[in-house]
């Protein structure tokens, strides 16, 4: 059986099912990260003292990662815009760039993590590091998840372009919505963990 409303919009929602589905998922993601942010506020305001992030964490590396992730959001939206213009070659290039940016982000994160662990700074060391590893770790898992979906649409999933370009374009838009959300979370994580 075919999946309903992948290209046509449902008359009652005015949307394709994929679009409403991804937004409902993102709403649940807001609550997931929101719960952790609320815990962070609670623990920090209740603590007798709290270190400034930049006394422990590497701000230049995190700034680089912020720039990389924002750039990947632009290439993601350009990948979708390329499909809207019917330019599959450009799509492949922009989607490839998006995946590469994700990879760069993870490699930088790996160096950050290993430097911390090398200096004996573990999640169990103190509350600051516990929150740092939990929030950036969960965010990192989201980067990996987004990259997996994007890699599928760059590779084998792109076959759909030949048979149903409109459906494929919508799929890329939806995976883009997830990717932009991951970027959005980082935009808040960066100042709250590293700079304050």
């Amino acid at each position: 059986m075919d999946i309903p409303y992948t290209v046509e919009v449902r008359r009652d929602t005015g949307l394709t099912n994929g679009k409403i589905g991804i937004w409902l998922f993102l709403a649940s993601e807001v609550m997931l990260f929101g719960a952790l942010f609320a815990s962070y506020i609670l623990i920090r305001t209740g603590a007798p003292s709290w270190p400034r992030g930049d006394t422990i964490l590497n701000v230049p590396l995190a700034t680089l990662n912020t720039i990389v992730l924002i750039a990947s959001s632009v290439t993601m939206v350009m990948a979708w815009a390329s499909l809207m213009r019917g330019r599959f070659g450009a799509y492949r290039m922009y989607m490839g760039a998006t995946i590469l940016c994700g990879l760069v982000f993870l490699v930088v994160k790996y160096f950050e993590y290993s430097a911390k662990l090398h200096h004996g700074l573990y999640p169990s060391t103190n509350n600051f590091l516990a929150i740092y590893f939990t929030l950036t770790g969960l965010h990192g898992l989201h980067v990996i998840g987004g990259m997996a979906v994007n890699a599928y649409f760059w590779g084998p999933g792109a076959k759909l372009w030949k048979t149903n370009p409109a459906w494929f374009t919508n799929r890329v838009e939806n995976s883009g919505l997830f990717w932009h959300f991951v970027d959005l979370v980082w935009i808040f994580l960066f100042p709250t963990l590293y700079l304050l």
């Binding site: 719960a35 209740g46 701000v59 993601m76 939206v77 019917g86 370009p165 374009t169 970027d183 935009i187």
Partner: protein, 110 residues
């Protein structure tokens, strides 16, 4: 016109997409500038309440730009706005929880 042109893609026409691409570039440059501002402000070593307020304000502007333009929320359907409105209400409740307990003094040792 190439043979693989997505003629059946609904919604935006090619000219609209070109206009959108220019907006994406503008938003990208703005986000980069705001990132530099975020880091620069942290070197001023403002008092914690002011630093938190400024950092969250800049982050909110950046997040709004991403949501509005990259996630197309400037022109989305009503149902998605309804879902997000509900999400924002619950998110505010979630953020208010620690603030409320704080102002009670229950969690603060004084």
């Amino acid at each position: 016109m190439t043979s693989d042109h997505a003629a059946s893609v609904p919604g935006d026409h090619a000219a609209d997409v070109d206009r959108h691409v220019r907006i994406y570039i503008t938003v990208f440059v703005t986000l980069m500038v705001l990132t530099v501002i975020t880091v620069a402000i942290s070197y001023l070593h403002l008092s914690t309440p002011v630093a938190v307020a400024v950092a969250l304000f800049v982050a909110t502007v950046k997040g709004s730009l991403v949501a509005a333009y990259f996630m197309h929320l400037v022109s989305e359907k009503k149902l998605i706005y309804a879902v997000l409105l509900l999400t924002i209400v619950f998110f505010i409740v979630l953020m208010a929880l620690p603030v409320v307990t704080h102002s009670n003094g229950y969690w603060i040792h004084e």
